[in-house]
């Protein structure tokens, strides 16, 4: 072996194709969106540059997904991070963007370092970077090595996916990037992290011990609950979406962790089911998160701000965006009959049957029930979060001058959003067939026995287990909803004879004028949550009196912030330590040539004394 040769071996198995499909699903609309989005924001040359970069970025993502060679995978992976970094810092004047990019690429690099270690450990046993060779080698790895590799992979891929202890880059990078880039990053790129996890941990390394699965489940639950909690606190629209991406990654990882423990509890059917549910949620999140970021983007473009406190009343000014955003919000809050609901329902079923089936694992029952509870909590918080997002920024009265004059953007921005909205409905209504395909994928890649037949009652309706009498035919459900809706509507039209509707001012205890200033704010909306979860969020407030004389206070300035637990108590201290140490170490080199020669002398003496040790 002299030097490494990158061989461009590609493989197209079900998993890769599935992810390739998702890449297409997101990147094509985003590309179209970018055309309309970028003009006016950047200079012509930069737009061209951005387009080339975007193309390369998408290509590298394909390369990552389809590469059958770990080295190629690694290279493509790092390229992906690099290109996305350039895209995040597209506008060189944005100090914030460049800082966000810095954090992003640094975290990505650390993640890659862990992956590199893992790859090299495996390679030093296998002697070839071929994935099949990896797979064979992993069968014979000693357990300790396997565990090390697993942990390395968990950190490496978790960082890219934005799993919670490693997520800090995500809420910086996604909001600062241009919106179509945020859409792609949130929609696909973090899923590539999931792909890596599936490919290398589940289907190459194999699940060795139960606690691996438990660890993943715990991290997943943390990400889900924590992510949405922080999202709820945000008043920056895109940052909120970024945090909610963390939440959804958590939900997906719940499914994957489910797969891991079910394999260990030898419940192959359930394992496949739970994995398929995770895949389903991957698709769904790709769709609606992209859509939501596009919505946020078009708001940002027309109103020039993504701060909810400055928005409002947009539902009348930009109806299309509002409608699409509403559907997206409904879907992401897992409300029937849209697609988010389906995947979350499936995950609940997976957890339930896991709890039911794991007869020999008594404590797993409680654990899974707890997870189900956390999933429910997440759903509830997500609903609250998106009620706030939509309600504050689209409903009621505009809160700033610029917002009052907003209007829907051009077709190249509207069309992709409408397309994705349609997709939300499609993937919601035709859950049966979609899920059949996904179970096929899950079964084939995991090599477990094919449960595809078992999970669908007939063509259209899902059934987590045959004979359990539980079927969900979403088409029927939504049909019922529509019918009942029409029924109710017509009935009430009939029995309440046409009454006159008078339009008046909003009543606020007789206060004379309601305007943007005295509406309920995003901060106010999230107040109860802030108080209830203060033990995690650690809110603190800055109050400042602006007074023109000692006696007369002209106005108050009042800010509420929440602390990031991990940043405060882990990342910041570590970084500060490193910097302080570096600052201290500069003392060693104060410029006196005598001392420098002294170092040489000391080195010499040291070696002379310890010569026998070498």
């Amino acid at each position: 072996m002299e030097g490494f040769v990158v061989d461009w071996k590609l493989s197209f198995d079900a998993l890769s194709i599935f992810f390739g499909f998702i890449i297409l699903l997101v990147s094509i609309p985003s590309w179209m969106y970018s055309i309309g989005y970028m003009q006016g924001l950047y200079s012509g040359g930069r737009i061209l540059f951005a387009k080339i970069l975007l193309l390369l970025f998408i290509l590298t993502m394909f390369l990552v997904v389809f590469s059958a060679n770990a080295l190629l995978f690694l290279i493509a992976w790092e390229l992906m991070s690099l290109l996305s970094y350039f895209l995040v810092t597209l506008d060189p004047h944005e100090e914030k963007a460049s800082r966000a990019g810095l954090i992003y690429i640094l975290m990505a690099h650390i993640g890659t370092a862990f992956m590199t270690a893992a790859f090299l450990i495996i390679y030093s046993y296998s002697g070839s970077f071929d994935l099949s060779a990896f797979k064979e080698t992993c069968l014979i790895l000693p357990l300790k090595v396997k565990t090390t590799v697993f942990l390395c992979f968990l950190v490496g891929f978790g960082t890219k996916a934005g799993l919670i202890p490693f997520h800090i880059w995500l809420p910086f990078a996604h909001p600062e990037a241009p919106s179509h880039i945020s859409a792609i990053m949130s929609g696909v790129m973090i899923k590539i992290g999931i792909y890596g996890f599936l490919r290398f941990v589940l289907f190459t390394l194999g699940v060795e011990e139960l606690w691996w699965g438990n660890l993943v489940l715990v991290l997943a639950a943390l990400s889900a609950a924590g992510g949405i909690l922080y999202a709820l606190m945000e008043k920056d629209l895109k940052k909120m979406l970024a945090y909610s991406s963390i939440e959804n990654i958590g939900i997906i990882m719940l499914g994957i962790g489910g797969y891991m423990i079910f394999v260990k509890m030898n419940q192959p059917l359930l394992a496949v089911f739970s994995l398929a549910a995770a895949l389903y949620h991957i698709i769904n999140h790709a769709i609606f998160k992209t859509l939501l970021f596009m919505g946020a983007g078009s708001i940002l473009k027309t109103c020039g701000t993504k701060n909810m406190e400055k928005l409002g009343g947009l539902i009348k000014l930009m109806p299309v965006t509002a409608f699409c955003f509403l559907i997206g919000a409904l879907a992401i809050s897992a409300l029937p009959p849209l697609n988010g609901f389906i995947s979350e329902w499936l995950l609940l079923q997976a957890l339930f049957y896991g709890a039911l089936a794991g007869a020999t694992f008594a404590k797993m029952k409680i654990f899974l029930a707890l997870l189900a509870g956390i999933l429910a909590l997440t759903g509830g918080l997500a609903a609250a979060c998106f009620v706030k997002a939509f309600g504050i920024s689209f409903l009621a009265v505009p809160r700033s001058k610029k917002t009052e004059t907003a209007s829907d953007s051009g077709w190249s921005i509207k069309a992709p959003m409408i397309f994705l909205t349609a997709l939300i409905f499609i993937f919601g209504l035709f859950a049966g067939p979609v899920f059949k395909i996904l179970t096929g994928v899950a079964a084939s890649v995991s090599g477990l026995n094919n449960g595809a037949a078992a999970f669908t009652f007939n063509v259209l309706s899902l059934a987590p287990q045959e004979g359990s009498g539980v079927h969900l035919n979403n088409l029927l459900l939504s049909g019922a909803l529509v019918l009942i809706g029409i029924f109710v509507f017509s009935i009430f039209k009939v029995i309440s004879r046409e009454k006159s509707i008078t339009y008046g001012k909003t009543w606020t205890c007789g206060y004379y004028s309601v305007n943007g200033r005295n509406q309920y704010t995003a901060t106010g909306f999230s107040k109860p949550f802030r108080v209830a979860f203060s033990f995690i969020l650690m809110p603190y407030r800055k109050m400042e009196k602006i007074r023109d004389s000692y006696y007369h206070v002209k106005s108050f300035k009042y800010e509420v912030h929440t602390k990031q637990l991990l940043n405060e108590y882990f990342y910041k201290p570590v970084i500060n330590r490193i910097f302080r140490f570096a600052e201290w170490s500069r003392k060693l080199q104060q410029g006196s040539v005598h001392i420098y020669i002294g170092y040489i002398f000391l080195a010499l003496v040291f070696l002379i004394i310890f010569l026998k040790r070498f």
């Binding site: 002299e2 990019g101 370092a113 450990i121 170490s585 080199q589």
Partner: protein, 451 residues
């Protein structure tokens, strides 16, 4: 111009030598010059970067007169380095290394202001001390050789042949002096202190040459002795000492780069880091380790010259080395700044640039031969260093440009130079041409004593 053409001729000549030596048959000229794979490889390295530097110097000094002295010293410097890697007699090699110091001393002090002279002084003094210690080591070598095998000269070939008869303890003792001595010049911590000063004060082309080639040339000297010593004391002993210095160098570089203000010092420390990686490659050993180390030396020569060139352009424009005063370079000098940025990613070891490949190989050697801790340490330090580099460069390249500064057109030739170098780095990252592969193979064969 003369210099450039001279360099080109020399480069072509050495290239031919490489082709000759890649076959693995060493070439001896009147028992004075001796060129085997190892020398050939380093010849190539020197040739490439000194050629590039000569070209760059033309641009760098295009505005000032009487650069004759500069070019005179430049040539002496470069040719003494050629001499280092081609000469057979170790004593002569030692002298050549000393001459590189003496020649480059005036180049470092070229600007002849306070800081420059200070840097030059430290450079000369510290390097001479190191070299002198190395001489002591050489004498010990000669002592054991002559007393064991009655050898009467210092020719490497014969010493090497006598390798296994040498007295291990003496060799060990000698090796300490050799490694510390030449290590001083190769910029291994903690003997590296001259390096940031010299690099920051020398004219940019010279800085490029110093860290691009000089460090490698003196590392070459170390390798020569290591080859002989490994015959009697085994490779691992030499490897361990190198590994110790390698780790120290990495740590020092990492922490000093974090809090650096001067861009050229930053790059200097990154050179320390890369020399550390090279010596770690020797520590990890094995074919992979050696291959990685040598390949890394080559890549580093390329990338670091590129970095110095491009940041030299930026420095000339902003008129300061202080990174806090440089802002928005991407706007002012699009090409140079982009080159610097990409080069930064290259030396930070990101794919698809070739340095990633060599670092990867070194790491592989580490993991393969079970040096888990030092490999992980290497990974951690690389991450820190990447952070430091990115931190400084993004603050320099992004942001608003100073109000009084206007985007100026850049010299096409220099831009082309950057382009070519980047292209090389990229191409080597994807595929190592067979020529280079065989050359490095020959070099590592020499190291392993394979005939």
């Amino acid at each position: 111009m003369v210099t450039l053409s001279g360099q080109i001729i020399a480069a072509v000549f050495s290239f031919l030598l490489c082709v000759r030596a890649a076959g693995g048959v060493p070439l001896e000229v009147l028992n004075f010059f001796y060129i085997d794979g190892l020398s050939a490889f380093f010849l190539l390295l020197i040739a490439v970067s000194s050629m590039a530097t000569a070209f760059y110097s033309l641009w760098y000094f295009k505005n000032d007169e009487n650069t004759g002295f500069y070019y005179f010293l430049f040539n002496i410097f470069v040719f003494s380095m050629y001499f280092v890697v081609t000469v057979n007699n170790l004593g002569m090699m030692w002298m050549a290394v000393e001459i590189t110091t003496l020649a480059s001393a005036f180049l470092v002090g070229y600007r002849n202001n306070k800081t420059a002279v200070e840097a030059a002084w430290k450079y000369v003094i510290i390097c001479s001390v190191g070299i002198t210690l190395a001489l002591f080591g050489i004498i010990l070598f000669y002592y054991t050789a002559s007393s064991q095998t009655g050898l009467r000269n210092l020719n490497w070939t014969e010493l090497n042949a006598a390798g296994k008869f040498l007295d291990p303890m003496v060799v060990k003792a000698a090796l300490i002096f050799i490694i510390i001595g030449f290590g001083t010049k190769a910029g291994l911590a903690p003997m590296h202190n001259w390096l940031p000063d010299a690099h920051s004060q020398a004219p940019t082309p010279i800085s490029a040459l110093l860290s691009g080639v000089l460090l490698k040339a003196s590392f070459y000297a170390i390798i020569r002795f290591v080859i002989i010593a490994s015959k009697s004391v085994g490779f691992s002993f030499c490897g361990n000492i190198l590994g110790l210095f390698g780790i120290i160098s990495l740590a020092v570089a990492a922490f000093f780069m974090l809090v650096q203000k001067d861009i050229k010092r930053l790059l200097a420390y990154s050179s320390v880091e890369h020399m550390g990686i090279v010596s770690l490659g020797f520590y990890f050993g094995g074919k992979a380790g050696i291959f990685g180390a040598l390949f890394h030396a080559f890549n580093h020569a390329l990338a670091k010259s590129l970095m110095f060139f491009s940041s030299g352009v930026i420095i000339k424009k902003y008129g300061t080395n202080n990174m806090h005063q440089i802002k928005g370079a991407l706007e002012v000098l699009p090409f140079a700044a982009s080159a610097a940025f990409l080069g930064m990613f290259a030396i930070a070891g990101l794919p698809p640039f070739s340095i990633f490949m060599s670092e990867f190989t070194v790491l592989y050697a580490g993991f393969k031969n079970g040096f888990y801790y030092s490999s992980s340490a290497l990974l951690i330090f690389l991450a820190i260093i990447f952070g430091a580099l990115l931190f400084h460069f993004s603050s320099m390249l992004y942001g608003k440009k100073p109000a009084n500064m206007s985007a100026s057109k850049e010299s096409a030739g220099i831009t082309a130079l950057f382009g070519v170098m980047l292209l090389f780095l990229l191409a080597l990252g994807f595929h190592i041409p067979d020529f280079l592969r065989t050359l490095i193979g020959a070099a590592s064969n020499v190291i392993f004593g394979v005939e």
